[in-house]
Amino acid sequence: MKHTISDLEDIASQVRRDCLRMVHAVQSGHPGASLGCADFFTALYFEVLNHNPEFKMEGVGEDLFFLSNGHISPVWYSVLARSGYFEVSELKTFRKLDSRLQGHPTTHEGLPGVRIASGSLGQGLSVAIGAALGKKLDGDKSLVYALMGDGELQEGQNWEALMFAPFHKVDNLIASVDYNGQQIDGPTEKVLSLENLQAKFESFGWHVITSDGNDMAEIVKALHYAKSLTGKGKPILNLMSTQMGYGVDFMVGTHKWHGSAPSNEQLETALGQLKETAGDY
């Protein structure tokens, strides 16, 4: 381990503060799933990924990460900044004119750490598969990671990608699903139920593991376990249960915070529940 679990939890707390402050400052953006995925992102960038903050697009010999549900950009930007890709102070430009921190992540402004634009849902898994195939062609043994939303899985392109990866033995790929059960119009079960996701993925030929994405020890363990499963002929799917808004009592578990910003008072209350551990930007 590069960090203790409690160190990682401290970082995740700071990341959650960053997310809320970024969204609050411009009164727009997506706090819900950003908070829910803060533990995953922290574990990934501070513990699991073999990566170099001196960013190079090609990422030769490095693990690559692709965010398909681009609306949770706040959590990614915070973790990229806090792990050295760019100055933490740049977080204050989020969603503002002429910023590299666009509402949805993009390569267009050259932000270090981002290798593809996302925001229009359902496209990231295909891109991650392409990047993983590229690594195989180059004999590069490092891995490719991807994250998708659960509502996002309603997009048909995901299922084209889900069919492709096992058939082509893309076994250097670890895809995670942010299984929070929420989307914009309500609980996923009410909007368009995904039914038995695990059985679906397995029937497509993935090696499926499940995890609790809001338990730092467990998510670290799950990602290390996922790593140990690579190179065995199957892509790996981490079905990761999270709670939207995790870490702030009045935001937990509801789609209401999918894409709305906290007021001044709400921000204050929320920050009161999250330790400042690495200094606010």
Partner: protein
């Protein structure tokens, strides 16, 4: 310059929501579909009164277009609702084959068009949708200018057999057209008669053209302002009549200069009556995150930009 005033500002998407609700009352064949954006598309009133005629398809726009096409077969009139990008580019071939080529009576209703959705940025700000949709044979393309006009347009397309693309937006803007207007598809609306230059505007740019017209009047320039809410079929007669009078034209749209209203006007003028033209449009660029006002300024869609374009084009008059 004719005086235009307004007492309130509203978003055009709310005009769509109100129109859809009214359409549902008037015609029981009207069915609404949405892809996880009910609140953004203002469909709540329709859903409340006609829950059995609402279809929530989830985040699956391609499936939505196919289902809409299929619903027309029993005589339903489907209105699909999602953001403009996901209503067009995302599902272009589904629209092309199952709706346009098949001649199906689907109303593709698209919110958050253009730059003015603001902070979400370029992935959501489509500036190519007018071009994409006007190129489809038989597709009617409409971009109304305020709440009242959007509501009236939503009702008018219900009664117009055939595929329609209805484009509207997110920000609140002045409501300046009459509440009880009759919306005639393909018929230009004369905003102000003038003699020195023709300003043709669509969507959110119409109010900006009025503001520009007031500035031009102070500079002694008498602008004729025309609202082209229907980009296809284009009201060629109205445009030609005006340009024959003024001898020059400025086109204004919240869209890429390639493929938009301006190019439709240019095609008309080069074939029927050659005249100088300036384009107030986005200059072959994606958008970005910022407030709507900041973006309209950065991408040169302000009233000042229309004034400058008018002054420039007058110098090149035939």
């Amino acid at each position: 310059m004719k005086k235009y005033t307004y007492t309130e500002k509203k978003d055009t998407r709310s005009g769509f929501g109100a129109g859809l609700h009214e359409a549902g009352k008037r015609n029981e064949n009207v069915v609404a579909l949405c892809a996880d954006l009910v609140g953004s598309l203002k469909m709540d009133a329709f859903i409340k009164d006609f829950p059995e005629r609402f279809v929530q398809v989830g985040i699956a726009e391609a499936n939505m277009m196919g289902i809409a096409a299929g619903l027309t077969i029993s005589g339903k009139i489907p209105f699909t609702g999602t953001f403009a990008n996901f209503s067009t580019g995302r599902v272009y071939d589904q629209i092309r084959q199952s709706i346009a080529y098949s001649g199906k009576n689907v109303k593709i209703c698209a919110s958050h068009a253009g730059l003015t959705l603001g902070e979400d940025g370029a992935t959501h700000q489509i500036l190519e949708d007018i071009g994409l949709m006007k190129m489809l044979p038989g597709m009617v393309v409409i971009n109304p200018c305020d709440y009242n006009q959007t509501k009236a347009a939503t009702l008018a397309i219900m009664d117009n057999e055939g595929p329609v693309y209805l484009r509207f937006g997110r920000p609140v803007i002045p409501v300046f057209t009459p509440e009880d207007q009759k919306f005639e598809i393909g018929k230009a609306w004369m905003v102000n008669e003038g003699t020195d230059v023709t300003i043709i505007a669509t969507g959110h740019m119409v109010w900006r053209a009025i503001e520009a017209g007031e500035q031009l009047a102070e500079l002694g320039i008498d602008a004729e302002i025309i609202n082209i809410h229907t980009i296809k079929p284009l009201d060629e007669e109205a445009i030609l009549k005006s340009v024959k009078k003024t001898g020059c034209v400025v086109t204004c749209e919240e869209h890429n200069k390639f493929g938009g209203l301006g190019e439709s006007v240019a095609r008309l003028l080069t074939t029927e009556y050659l005249a100088a033209q300036e384009f107030v449009a986005v200059n072959d660029s994606f958008g970005e995150s910022a407030t709507p006002d900041q973006l309209m300024t950065k991408y040169k869609l302000d009233p000042d930009d229309i004034v400058a374009a008018a002054q420039k084009v007058i110098k090149r008059k035939r």
